[in-house]
Symmetry: C2
């Protein structure tokens, strides 16, 4: 079996270049192969940039995930941050660290996953770095363009704003529980809500937005941070995956905990002003954003999050 | 002794935010704290982006380097890629991975080094990621602006072009040898030649450029890659640090090897057309670039690098 050490740094870079190809991409003046990549914004745009890392043994395990899936997931999760700002993807870089004894097939699959997912979202891989390390990790930096002054910033929320979420919550944590407790392969790749974010930039008068990566409660907390505002949740309205309660029961998980604090959903949690014409009907809003949308509560002048049931344990993902 | 695990992910992010401060920076619409940072290019500029990683045990060792030095070095090395494109720094992100048992003081020093070096070059830290990992690593992504169509690309070289290098070669490898063989602390932080790169963008009619990270021969090879051109080096003209031969002798290193293949210098290696008015006198060129400049050879129509002495072993840094 061939391993990473058999091809070395430049062999790996060549493999990545080969996978990416030389096809010219609008907005990319210069891709992989020089000291830096060169990208063009459109007139009136500013740059949105976000960095995210997946580490073997912390964010993924070879035993439960395919290498293609890990690569796809790394890109999807990073792009979710651009979605939450309402930016259109321009390009991305990947810093790949791996042990020299990693099988080449695994590296090839990782790259294949990265390039496929990046391509699917119009976010070409334009550069990066490769190095050896004692465990595999992927650090993605995604670059996007957004109309200057129009990005969906967390700070722009006010008391009375209505609170919405795209898609369903709990699916990410359920897939993880299935893989950890049920021994199933983790196949789920989250869908970055890029079109919804961009539609909000184009059409919302005022919108605060965050992507739900750490769990609804934790991320709602982040949205409120520094604002002295609170939120009234209507927990019964939180949209759940089909068959969620039964699936949770079979795995011995608490469904309330999974949907409120499980994380890994990468849906957009956003606010709109109380009388926003955009939110006149949730069905119309959903058509505009090209994704299912549910109203789940309201921003209130009183700090803290209310409307919660008792939770079995405090939520969110701990990184250390 | 307090350790990283005692403060957790959000504690660490707070510490970084505290170190960076809330001072508003021109070009930065939004710094740390949202889903993505927002940066503004100037009219007529395109974006230059480069990613670079330093891994404990591969690129640095706690035994031989201070944490402040590691942080400073990570930024300097990444910025060298912007210098080699002739871009002005706009901002950077850092993905920090570290074991939970890492002493807090070390993390604080790392951050201090990153923020200080980034500040020194007008390249504010605008975002990033923190995660646990089994070894410490820093992945820097640097973002810069460069006049559209004017970046210093490797491809723009032709036969007859004159070959120049900034500063001296061998100092980086010598410092490394001193630390590895002589037991000295590695204190050297390379100086990214940002002003020189920008001056070349402003004044050179045509200029191919690369930074010398892997060693002169390896990086000259990268410059020539894909061009079917070669180079005639005048090895005797290669600018060396003061007292270089003696220092090498005392450490048992071969000075020719160190200056040609040692790497770690982060000087700019660049070409100018044969009759470029900019290169009429090397002294004037040096004033323009605000750094010592030496002419060390010529690009030739014949592939390969000529003018070399025998080398004790093949050069360049192997990453795997």
């Amino acid at each position: 079996m061939r391993r990473l050490r058999d091809i070395g740094e430049f062999g790996l870079i060549e493999r990545i270049e080969g996978r990416v190809g030389a096809r010219s991409v609008p907005g990319v003046s210069l891709g992989i192969g020089d000291d830096a990549a060169l990208l063009r914004l459109r007139a009136g745009e500013e740059l949105a940039v976000s960095t995210d890392a997946l580490v073997e043994g912390v964010h993924f395990r070879w035993q439960t995930q395919s290498a293609v899936g890990v690569g796809r997931r790394a890109v999807a999760v990073a792009l979710s941050d651009l979605a939450a700002m309402g930016a259109r993807p321009l390009g991305c870089t990947v810093a790949l660290a791996a042990p020299p004894e990693l099988p080449l097939r695994r590296i090839d699959d990782l790259i294949r996953g990265i390039v496929a997912e990046a391509g699917r979202h119009g976010c070409p891989l334009v550069g990066g770095n490769v190095t050896r390390a004692s465990e595999t990790s992927l650090t993605l930096t995604v670059l996007g363009g957004v109309k200057a002054g129009r990005a969906l910033r967390r700070h722009s929320l006010r008391a009375g704003d209505r609170l919405f979420v795209t898609g369903v919550l709990g699916a990410g944590a359920l897939a993880l529980a299935r893989s950890e407790r049920g021994g199933a392969k983790l196949r789920r790749v989250p869908e970055p809500r890029l079109a919804a974010g961009r539609a909000l930039v184009r059409t919302a008068e005022r919108c605060a937005c965050i992507d739900v990566s750490d769990g609804l409660l934790a991320d709602l907390g982040h949205l409120l941070e520094g604002s002295e505002l609170g939120a009234e949740l209507e927990v019964d309205r939180i949209p759940l995956p089909r068959g969620f309660a039964g699936a949770c029961r079979r795995l011995g998980c608490d469904p309330t905990h999974l949907c409120l604090a499980g994380g890994e959903d990468y849906e957009l949690l956003f606010t709109l002003p109380p009388r926003s014409p955009l939110a006149g009907s949730t069905a119309r809003l959903a058509r505009r954003l090209a994704v299912e949308v549910t109203e789940i509560g309201r921003i209130s002048a009183r700090p803290g999050i209310r409307g919660l049931p008792e939770l079995p344990r405090a939520g969110g993902w701990r990184h250390f």
